[in-house]
């Protein structure tokens, strides 16, 4: 008798989560709509002067991305916890950190990746000067995995608390601040004509480190939560 290989288990968990989310599309669309609404309302509120708007653009987009990550975070493990799936995952012969990684990846595919794809539209709506576009897309591409991974840690820790929403936001927001500073710094640097890559590369390193370590933290948190 052979158990599912690690790879097969990873794929199955991803497949199942993707299928479940595809049947509950509002969970995916809500955070994205939130970002689009913030981005489209700002020009109306601040006025269309390209100067102000263009300088604020990166900050607005990133703040919206952070808040939208918090918006859906509570539900990341909620259903799995309630219906017993989380319990069964901890009993799988495969490492729980690996299965947690699958969940993080699904979350990123459905929340981070769409943001990267929508970035040009957001940049256009906020009149971000063209020099900053590449930096914006790059920071979103390397920064959103950090959002997904850190959110997953918080969600796993608070999943058994019933109403952990407020606590979760308080827990996560400080962790996102370095991300915010470096990401907007990179776009700012690109706008004034200096090199944006140091910040982007730093974010990329941070992102890899987070993706490497977060699954273990998520696994430990899940174990605490199902106890």
């Amino acid at each position: 008798m052979k158990p599912a290989s690690n790879w097969q288990a990873l794929r199955t968990v991803m497949q199942r989560d993707l299928m479940v989310v595809m049947r509950r599309r509002s969970d995916v669309l809500n955070p994205l709509l939130f970002v689009l609404m913030v981005v489209s309302l700002f020009p109306l509120a601040v006025g269309p002067g390209p100067d102000i708007l263009g300088r604020m653009a990166a900050g607005v987009i990133w703040v919206a991305a952070l808040l939208s990550a918090l918006l859906g975070s509570e539900r990341l493990f909620r259903e799995d916890f309630l219906d017993g799936t989380l319990e069964q995952l901890t009993l799988q012969p495969q490492p729980l950190a690996l299965l947690s990684f699958a969940k993080i990846m699904v979350h990123w595919l459905l929340s981070g990746l769409p943001l990267v794809i929508l970035a040009p539209l957001c940049a256009l709506l906020l009149k971000l000067p063209l020099e900053g576009w590449l930096a914006l897309i790059a920071t979103l591409a390397v920064g959103t995995p950090i959002l997904s991974a850190v959110t997953a840690i918080g969600a796993a820790l608070t999943v058994s608390l019933g109403r952990g929403g407020a606590l979760l936001s308080l827990l996560l927001l400080p962790l996102f601040i370095p991300l915010l500073i470096f990401a907007t710094g990179a776009v700012e640097a690109a706008l004034v004509g200096t090199d944006a890559w140091p910040q982007v590369l730093l974010l990329a390193g941070l992102s890899l480190l987070t993706l490497l370590l977060a699954p273990f933290a998520v696994a430990a948190s899940i174990r605490v939560s199902v106890h």
Binding site: V13, R23, Q88, L91
Partner: protein
């Protein structure tokens, strides 16, 4: 006879109450252990602590003491089913069965036949969330028909099943033990099927 599980001096407490202490038992191939006790006596806690879902206060649990390779990968040779069915409400019965089997490492499972077996044929395309509690339970229980794990730990497997379902399940239990498997289960229903090797373990619980 090979021993599948050896439990020594187990003790557990919850919220300051000692649920059980100095609990020892062994389970050999072909045996069924029926854990009995009132609501809140600690039956579920015992079963969950066996698989590590609850922290123990003291005691040792040895899976497959006669079988060194199995002992290390005990998760692979043990099937645990708790109160919650672990069935995804958004997925259909068919998808649930297939994904469940894939996760268990069984790729050649005939999901249609399994569904027919547990009496869910004709409902396979409905999201599981629209099925009744007993029907969802049946989806989860299909695991018992393809699982190759010798040791089953089942918490209230008969919950929300009808008489036919209970009978079907007991038949499956009989097959499993005849093939050298062992079962630990809790149930408030008396077992109608009399296994030759049925043991009872009563947890009184409640001492402060």
């Amino acid at each position: 006879m090979t021993t599948l599980l050896e439990v020594k001096q187990l003790a557990s407490q919850r919220a300051g109450r000692v649920l059980f202490s100095q609990l020892s038992f062994t389970l050999a191939a072909g045996e069924v252990l029926h854990v009995e006790g009132e609501n809140g006596a600690g039956k579920s806690t015992l079963l969950r602590s066996l698989v590590g879902l609850v922290q123990l206060r003291s005691g040792t649990i040895q899976f497959f003491p006669d079988h060194n390779e199995h002992a290390e990968d005990w998760r692979q040779y043990t099937l645990f089913m708790g109160h919650k069915a672990a069935v995804k409400a958004e997925l259909t019965a068919l998808e649930n069965v297939r994904l469940q089997a894939q996760l268990g490492g069984v790729n050649d499972v005939d999901a249609w036949q399994l569904l027919e077996h547990v009496g869910l044929l004709g409902l396979e395309d409905l999201p599981a969330g629209q099925l009744s509690a007993g029907q969802q339970r049946r989806i989860a229980l299909t695991r018992l028909w393809y699982s190759k794990a010798p040791l089953w730990i089942l918490d209230e497997p008969f919950t929300s099943l009808d008489t036919r379902g209970i009978q079907l399940l007991q038949q499956r239990f009989a097959e499993h033990t005849a093939a050298g498997g062992a079962i630990i289960m809790t149930s408030h229903q008396p077992l109608t099927w009399q296994s030759a090797q049925l043991q009872h373990l009563r947890i009184e619980g409640g001492e402060l």
